[in-house]
Subunit: 214 residues, 2 copies
């Protein structure tokens, strides 16, 4: 019974995700669904990406949070079109939430739309929103045992930003273990070691991202 309900919801979601995707393609905008646990640094990563790429690409952002508008305010400060979705309790964004706010973005003028999902290492990976690519962050401070404990997001993502590498000397985490276990789940996963605080490693990530958008 429970599984039936979930399947139903996922099928309905996928239909709307396909509509979003069609609209994105017609508008010529490349769309990233950015996911991670709470506090892994999604908003900081978006800020860094904007700073590196906004002279080359027109970027827009959708911020997803259960409550509050802090993240959207941070992005708006950079002069970037941004819409905040408050899910009001729901632990992930779904295709319909995205569909409803697209009228508030100048889609046809954008090259890149970054959708920041709700901070959650589980549920967002189950819901397509019409994106071209899923990207996930993992903070070094979360420890090196996350890939095998939360496998779906690692399997669904095209790229993994291993963030907060500046904290590495103060943790017990092994980057090699994270890489090995992530790649065992998803051999095609592109992994970037970055610090969105210091800027370390961001250049490789934005170069790769830019190469996909042309």
């Amino acid at each position: 019974m429970k599984v039936k309900v979930v399947t139903h919801i996922l099928e309905a979601n996928d239909r709307i995700a396909a509509e979003n995707r069609k609209l994105f393609h017609e508008s010529g905008v490349y769309v990233i669904n950015l996911m991670s646990a709470p506090g892994a640094g999604k908003t900081s990563c978006i800020e860094r990406t904007i700073k590196e790429l906004s002279s080359k690409l027109k970027i827009g952002v959708i911020e997803g949070d259960i409550a509050g508008t802090d993240d959207a305010k941070r992005i708006a400060k950079l002069g970037i079109p941004v819409v905040q979705i408050n899910t009001g309790g729901a632990c992930h964004l779904d295709a319909n939430m995205i569909n409803e706010v697209l009228v508030d973005l100048p889609l046809k003028t954008l090259d890149l739309l970054i959708i920041e999902n709700v901070g959650n290492l589980v549920c967002p990976a189950e819901f397509r929103v019409g994106e071209d690519m899923k990207v996930m962050l993992l903070s070094i401070a979360e420890g090196d045992d996350k890939p095998l404990k939360y496998p779906l997001m690692f399997q669904e993502s095209s790229a993994l930003l291993l963030n907060k590498v500046d904290l590495l000397p103060y943790t017990n985490a092994s980057i090699e273990k994270i890489k090995k276990n992530s790649l065992s789940l998803n051999p095609k996963l592109k992994i970037f070691e970055v610090s969105c605080k210091t800027g370390e490693g961001i250049n490789k990530w934005v170069e790769w991202l830019q190469s996909l958008i042309k």
Copy 2:
């Protein structure tokens, strides 16, 4: 329609949670539902708590993870009765999952049962499992903006372990901001600043916990 389904699931869950609670009370075991985002240090906190209290109290543990048995192995090494639940994708423990594994624990000999929920700052807060108290962890490395963005868990918890304070000098997080915003959501919340890695602050937490169990 969607809300209706959720209400239905929550009501069914609450009935089983009440059964669990009755069983816990009859067995004389105090039960904690321990929640946090992935990698905030739940298992390390349980290890520290066991080391401090196992000479005074009989402790048992239920480990909840989507996949894997790493956490249960860590607890078993300490000679503590432990059961691992693998949710197989589900992002939280519910009362029925707990109910099904209780036969595998020597409930009547235990004083304290710690249930480690799936790492998720959202959904676990919605599902009672029959606990006496919800306790949450927040890692300093997750940043100081989490209370207002993920309010429900802060509202539902009786205590907050502010973990990884050893990382404080290397982050931009403000403990005062976390405390202020947590208490604005839940004025009764007991807050403990700890490092489950170094052991700092653990004594205050275990003293308080022990005072509840008599």
